[in-house]
């Protein structure tokens, strides 16, 4: 809490470093809920207005000539320390807006792909995207009521995941649960980083 001091001599304390993690998955799977559960404030919303065509927006039919498309992103903040701030970004709808995904994924430490066992296939595009980019990710199965209980290895097989990709259960509404998912992701990303570093040395 040492913001808000009235005098800030220029060049005094260096600004913290910001890092980010993405929360992805199908429509209504609990992305915004998870961002809100672990962030220090309620989720904020920011918008990108895209004015050009041909930047990966697949369906502009019905919109006239020089169209603008608004892409909304939910995000939250966790201040880790005086020199580290973590941002969590919920990704905008899959299948559209890959342009915005590319911007979000650039420099991200990793991604959580939320899955709902009632419609597992909804998270395929997210998984394909992160696999394709080499972004470390974990799959978190959000436990909605009424969903048939799957074993995690069944989910792993159904999603055709690499054996190394962690699959965990979560309740996106609960802070502790969301925290655990993030910790699993960061531990996984750290391992991947080490493995890649070793592979590069060989």
């Amino acid at each position: 809490m040492d913001y808000g001091r009235s005098e800030r001599p220029t060049g005094a304390a260096p600004l913290p470093t910001a890092i980010k993690v993405l929360i992805a998955g199908g429509f209504g799977v609990g992305k915004t809920t998870m961002v809100g559960a672990v962030s220090e404030t309620r989720p904020l919303r920011t918008e990108e207005v895209l004015t050009e065509t041909g930047i990966g927006i697949d369906d502009l039919s019905g919109i006239e000539e020089k169209s603008t498309t608004t892409v909304a992103m939910d995000f939250g903040r966790i201040t880790i320390s005086d020199d580290l701030v973590l941002y969590l970004f919920g990704t905008p709808g899959q299948d559209r807006f890959w342009f915005v995904w590319d911007e979000l994924a650039l420099g991200a430490l990793g991604a959580v792909v939320l899955a709902d066992t009632r419609r597992l296939a909804d998270c395929f595009p997210s998984i394909d995207y992160f696999e394709g980019r080499g972004t470390p990710f974990v799959v978190a199965v959000n436990c909605f009521e009424g969903a048939r209980q799957f074993r995690l290895d069944e989910v792993q097989a159904a999603l055709d995941l690499d054996p190394g990709v962690p699959v965990v259960l979560c309740d996106a509404r609960k802070r502790e649960s969301a925290k655990e998912v993030l910790i699993t992701l960061l531990e996984h990303a750290m391992k991947l980083r080490e493995a890649r570093r070793r592979a590069a040395e060989d």
């Binding site: 913001y3 808000g4 009235s6 005098e7 800030r8 220029t10 260096p14 600004l15 913290p16 470093t17 910001a18 890092i19 980010k20 209504g28 672990v38 904020l44 919303r45 920011t46 918008e47 990108e48 207005v49 004015t51 603008t68 608004t70 992103m73 995000f75 903040r77 966790i78 880790i80 320390s81 580290l84 701030v85 973590l86 941002y87 970004f89 911007e103 979000l104 650039l106 420099g107 430490l109 470390p136 802070r175 925290k179 993030l182 910790i183 960061l186 531990e187 990303a189 750290m190 991947l192 980083r193 080490e194 890649r196």
Partner: protein, 129 residues
């Protein structure tokens, strides 16, 4: 918002008519900042507490200087001002050109995953939440 019916469609258009028109006026139609790139998570802090006497600044510039008395990301500034990120980037460029804000870009985005100590710090920070 999930509906595909007429009323939902109508609402969507109304919601967005404002934010699309206003930014144009705010930036004088400029699409790009005069300086800087401004990632969504670039962190910004004001170098001054008061810019009332600076000429050539609009109310949104002044609002950013006010907000950034605490350290905020570009995304947070946009959310608080309810302006699209592109508009905020232009405004931040104006402020950076006058050295009224200091900006810290996120760690090199092309450098791959960060050092182990960054991961460890985040993991420990999360455990302590």
């Amino acid at each position: 918002m999930t509906g595909r019916g007429d009323s939902a469609e109508q609402e969507w258009v109304d919601d967005h008519a404002g934010p699309v028109v206003r930014p144009y006026a705010v930036t004088g139609g400029r699409a790009r900042p005069v300086t800087g790139t401004f990632d969504l998570i670039s962190l910004v802090t004001s170098t001054r507490t008061d810019v009332g006497s600076e000429s050539g600044l609009g109310p949104e510039h002044v609002a950013i200087v006010g907000l950034c008395q605490r350290i905020l990301s570009v995304a947070e500034i946009a959310a608080h001002l309810d302006l699209p990120v592109g508009t905020v980037r232009v405004l931040l460029g104006d402020l950076a050109a006058r050295s009224l804000v200091q900006v810290r870009e996120p760690r090199a985005t092309t450098a791959g995953l960060p050092d182990e100590h960054v991961f460890e710090a985040v993991i420990n920070g999360l455990r302590a939440l």
